[in-house]
Amino acid sequence: MIYFDNNDTTPLDPEALESMLPYLRDKFGNPASLHQYGLEAENALDKARETIAAVVNVEPKEIIFTSGATESNNLAIFGAARARPDRRHIIISSIEHSSVSEPAKRLENEGYRVTRLPVDGMGYISSEALREALDDDTALVSIVMANHEIGVIQEIQTLAEIAHSRGVWFHTDAAQALGKITFDVKALGVDFASFNGHKLHGPKGVGGLYFNRKARPKRLMEGAPQEFDLRPGTENVPGIVGFAKAVEIAARDQTVVIPEVRRLSAKLAGGLSTIEYTHLNGPPPEERLPGNLNITFLYIEGEAILMHLSNRGVCVSSGSACSSKSLVPSNVLTAIGLLHEEAHGAIRFSLSRFNTEAEVDEVIEHTTEVVQLLRSMTAFIPKMHSEREGGKGFYRKR
């Protein structure tokens, strides 16, 4: 099997697994207990917090652990809205993950105004648009750092500065970014940042939220005062230990891994670009999230491509309506201006450091064959789609 769906989830790093095992076996204590077992667990928790804080350059007391980025995003959005009840306006982008866009939608149903900033053809948000959207009623701006589908990386520092100039809190969903691009949360100047374990070879069911002293969200659940009184419930100690290990490994190996993953995905893009009527969605490989590619194969449908590739042992994901939970094409792909029929034929290939060059060659071969097979039987006869905005080429012009 060739796994090219690492923006969905990743295989657990063996080192991370090893680090977790003692906490699933003998070191089972509850960090809240006062005895030896409790102390052992609490020490592990403290160490994990310090590790992650050091990697993203924040204070350990500014990181809390959650069940994943979905919870972190919910906590940041609802928590910020409730902490500033006098402000009734939220700004997000039109390419957010559902764990940001759905909380925003709920606030909208509760009477909030929600602005969804448009993006350009590559997926970038303009500072100008943000500046115009802000007003004295804005409580929070939430912009994804690296997009899960097209890998576009936003100018978070600039955007956060603009929000702060109007006294508005800034949250970024960094679930896809952590461990894959280097960033310094203090330098970015954001108030909240969401992290996830299983996108960087850590375990599932664990993530984190950064918050700073200036911006403290209201907790969403009531219970005991764990996680600085922001997130009740006994901590997932083995998960947190594994998450911290994964972050540590990513930081340790980044100078080797990031260029290598970039090289592999650029090679894959190059190989697939030779297929006719095919184009890359989002920024060029060197500009986007390492390992992420999103490619439209015109005149055929993504789920059919995905299923054929899966039968051949290649795992990818698709932006087509058929593979979505709501039967409409990906909001990210339509936001960057793709027609529905272009979004239906979109496939995301996402690589990690566990992928090899031989796999890239194999995937190029399989994909070329599958595309040819499906095109040979398509009912979608090319007429109006040979010309498109941005040119005919694989890499679009700006």
């Binding site: 005149y299 055929i300 449908e301 993504g302 789920e303 059919a304 299923m307 054929h308 039968n311 087509s320 309506a321 058929c322 593979s323 939970k325 709501s326 039967l327 409409v328 094409p329 027609l339 529905h340 029929e341 239906h344 039987m377 398509t378 009912a379 979608f380």
Partner: protein, 225 residues
């Protein structure tokens, strides 16, 4: 959401039967559109004496179940009379495929509608039916809505009694449909609206289709699909 396709669906998707075109076809029909991401083109040879479908082939732009349902539809149609096709239901294809996930049930509607379109076109060309049935009325709209399924349950809006209001203004060609929508179906609202527009919009005389949703409580019997 991992889709659980039956072994027969997988088989027909992987090795579809009767793919391609018939060059000297007696009838050709396309159902669906590229924008919907769901499209089938059939070509048929029909014996004018026996009115039996002697050959049928398909082309598909769509997902795995679109390909599988079209493949099964051609197998089922071959050797049948045009009257058999007219009586065919999308459920016949679903059953023959060993079931489809609820969210994919609409593929079987498209597959059977395509066969019916091809047959109807042949009948029109041979003067066997007249094409004067243009009245935009409740019967025609209801018939069209039978082809719109709730993706969560796989049941049509008509069978599930989800149509709350239906208003037809014949002079302006305006159709207004109010659909009951429970919380579980909210994520499909956009899709349901598109489907209604497409199906009713295809009716002769329908100029404008307005769709409105009315929030409702869960309808018990569909809750656990």
């Amino acid at each position: 959401m991992a889709l659980k396709y039956s072994p027969t669906v997988i088989e027909h998707f992987t090795k579809p039967q009767n793919v391609g075109d018939i060059c000297d076809a007696d009838a050709v029909a396309t159902e669906g559109s590229p924008a919907c991401g769901d499209m089938i083109t059939y070509s048929m040879k029909i014996n004018p004496q026996t009115r039996i479908i002697e050959d049928v082939r398909f082309r598909s732009f769509g997902c795995a179940s679109n390909i599988a349902t079209a493949s099964m539809a051609t197998l089922m149609a071959k050797g049948k009379s045009i009257d058999d096709i007219k009586k065919m239901s999308h459920r016949d294809i679903t059953v023959a495929l060993g079931g489809l996930p609820a969210v994919k049930m609409h593929c079987s509607v498209l597959a059977v509608d395509g066969l019916k379109s091809a047959v109807k076109q042949w009948e029109l060309e041979h003067g066997l039916v007249s094409d004067d049935n243009h009245i935009l009325d409740r019967t025609a709209v209801t018939e069209a809505l039978k082809g719109v399924l709730n993706p969560r349950t796989g049941c049509s809006l008509i069978d599930a009694k989800l149509i709350n209001r239906m208003e037809i203004d014949n002079d302006e060609g305006r159709v207004f449909i109010e659909v009951m929508l429970c919380e579980l179906d909210e994520r499909f609202a956009e899709n349901i609206e598109e489907e209604i527009r497409e199906k009713i919009g295809a009716l002769e005389g329908a100029q404008k289709v307005l769709v409105q949703f009315k929030p409702c409580e869960h309808i018990g019997k569909h809750l656990y699909f």
